[in-house]
């Protein structure tokens, strides 16, 4: 039962090593090993430890966060098509980030503003859905989708009135771009914390996936669990979006791919999502910065280009 996690862990380590050695300058395995041991040349050390490592870890954490958040949202809404952004969170974050960019603020403030926007979006949907008293997943979903459409309109409006020289930065942010990441540590810490906190409730999530009545009949306090998952998934997504913009696709596809292969036990799916999501984003980011180096592509484009065929293949050969 635990074995797939070891395989995914191995893949994750391999993807990180690959990402460290590839770039506009390729570093071979012997040199990389020297740097890891602390004996590399000054140039290689700077390149790998100061430039590539933070970015790679940020990509890994972001991918992991998105995939875990997606898995949680899919169980919460009992809808395999749910993703971390389905309730409008990325829209709120984008409005926050674009506002900060429009005002000409620095990267740190753009991130802070994005986080504030994401949490505002979360509270807004929470407030509206909660205020009406009895809510169902479809009601929450509908509220979120409509609020997301509202954010979409605001984003389009802002893009329309933005001076053209500021547009590329904004578009890259909207597509998702790991080069915005300053430090990987907050995202990494949230990812580890997320796994530690969700693992004890993972079996509750398995039961919740059978529907709220069945879950209550088996001893789950459904409503508190649902709101906790919602707020928690939102926090994870907000952290991811703050780190690297709104990268699509990872949160929808990774949990799905894993379910096709591993079944739907959240005790496996949640840690597997963290590992596979991280790996996918590390590989995508490596491609994004090497394909047309020294130019860089937005990583969100690559995740989709990599993920679509992978997903279709798994869907094709699944039971």
């Amino acid at each position: 039962m635990i074995r797939p996690l070891f395989s995914l862990g191995g893949l994750a380590v391999a993807s990180v090593l690959l990402a460290l050695s590839l770039g506009s300058v390729n570093v071979g395995a012997p040199d990389l090993w020297q740097v890891i041991q602390g004996q590399g040349s000054a140039l290689n050390s700077t390149l790998i430890l100061d430039l590539r490592l933070p970015r790679t870890l940020a990509a890994f954490a972001t991918g992991g966060l998105l995939a875990v958040a997606g898995a949680l949202m899919q169980v919460l809404l009992r809808n395999p098509l749910a993703d971390p952004y389905v309730l409008g969170l990325s829209g709120g974050a984008a409005v926050g980030a674009l506002l900060a960019m429009l005002a000409g603020l620095g990267t740190l403030l753009v991130s802070g503003s994005a986080f504030a926007g994401a949490m505002l979006a979360t509270m807004l949907v929470f407030g509206i859905a909660h205020g009406t008293g009895s809510w169902t997943p479809s009601r929450l979903l509908l509220t979120g989708v409509v609020v997301a459409a509202g954010w979409g309109a605001v984003i389009t409006l802002m893009l329309a009135i933005t001076p053209s020289y500021k547009l590329p930065g904004m578009l890259y942010w909207l597509m998702g771009d790991v080069s915005y990441a300053r430090t990987p540590w907050p995202a990494m810490a949230v990812l580890v914390l997320a796994l530690l906190l969700t693992m004890p409730v993972a079996r509750n999530l398995n039961v919740l996936a059978r529907g709220p009545l069945q879950a209550a009949a088996l001893g789950v306090s459904v409503r508190p669990l649902e709101w906790t998952i919602y707020l928690f998934a939102s926090l994870l997504t907000a952290t991811a979006v703050t780190t690297a913009g709104s990268i699509g696709f990872v949160g929808l596809i990774v949990p799905h791919m894993l379910r096709l292969v591993l079944g739907n036990d959240q005790r496996i799916i949640l840690p597997a999502s963290a590992l596979a999501g991280g790996t996918l984003l590390v590989l995508a980011d490596t491609l994004a910065r090497t394909v047309i180096a020294p130019e860089q592509l937005p990583v969100g484009v690559i995740t989709a280009l990599l993920g679509v065929p992978m997903f279709l293949y798994l869907l094709h050969r699944s039971r």
Partner: protein, 255 residues
């Protein structure tokens, strides 16, 4: 041994007058059958008894304690349900489905152990679905799924069994098998409470019967006092013919 009781209970059917308040005591060894036309509130009653729906008035008591004062997990160790309708948004195997019955018994970090597996296997075998244990639920027939749901309840192993139309979708052989399994469980000390549409199954296997009318009125008691043709004709608004076969009564609708 647990007893499920109600005190002046009125279930909440929107727009319906209160009707009769229910003072039931569902005790170990008894098999209760709830009879009533569509929309009489059988499912609402079962959900209210499980604490999943609020009552309009009165209380549901588990061993003398109001359900409201108990945690869901404590309730789930003593009382379990088979629902009439089930959601399966995500694929799951038959074995995984039976094992979720162990949920109330396991601590947060605990995984299902050999003993839990053994219980699940035993339950699946008792319902003739052991050979399907690795199949996905959504590839099974309606009757097979119904038996898996009952096996899940059996794996949960509560003292009080509530079942909403457990014989739905079942072929004749499995109707008999399920009803005799429920009666055996009652003999072993469980209290069983089920909704059923088949008068003859109720007559054959239930020890007590509750008649639930669309008006909200209700009456209950030992099966021999309750299954009288007049009351049943009024209940279903349907003329019945009674025939005696091997010393027991059979009810057949008169067309």
């Amino acid at each position: 041994m647990s007893v499920l009781g109600t005190r002046e209970l009125i279930i909440n059917i929107p727009g319906r007058p209160d009707g009769s308040a229910l003072d039931l005591s569902i005790e170990p060894g008894q098999v209760w059958g709830v009879l009533g036309p569509n929309g009489a509130g059988k499912t609402t009653l079962i959900h209210t008894l499980a604490g999943l729906l609020p009552a309009r008035a009165g209380q549901v008591m588990l061993n003398g304690t109001s359900l409201k004062e108990l945690k869901r997990r404590e309730i789930a160790r003593q009382l379990g349900l088979v629902f009439q309708e089930r959601q399966d948004s995500f694929p799951a195997t038959v074995m995984e489905t039976a094992l979720i019955g162990r949920h109330p018994w396991l601590s947060p970090w605990e995984h299902e152990q050999g003993e839990d597996q053994a219980r699940a296997n035993q339950a699946l075998a008792a319902l003739d679905v052991a050979q399907l244990s690795e199949r996905l639920l959504n590839t099974l027939s309606g009757g097979e799924r119904q038996r898996v749901a009952i096996a899940t309840l059996m794996t949960q192993n509560p003292e009080i069994w509530l079942l909403d139309e457990p014989t739905n979708h079942l072929d004749l052989h499995h109707q008999v098998k399920v009803m005799s399994l429920l009666r055996d469980q009652a003999s072993a000390g469980k209290a069983v409470f089920l909704c059923v549409h088949d008068l003859n199954l109720a007559a054959r296997w239930c020890s007590h019967v509750l008649l639930l009318y669309t008006s909200g009125d209700a009456c209950w008691g030992p099966v021999e006092n309750m299954l009288v043709p007049d009351a049943l004709e009024k209940l279903y608004n349907q003329r019945l013919t009674t025939v005696e076969v091997d010393g027991s009564l059979l009810f057949v609708p008169t067309v």
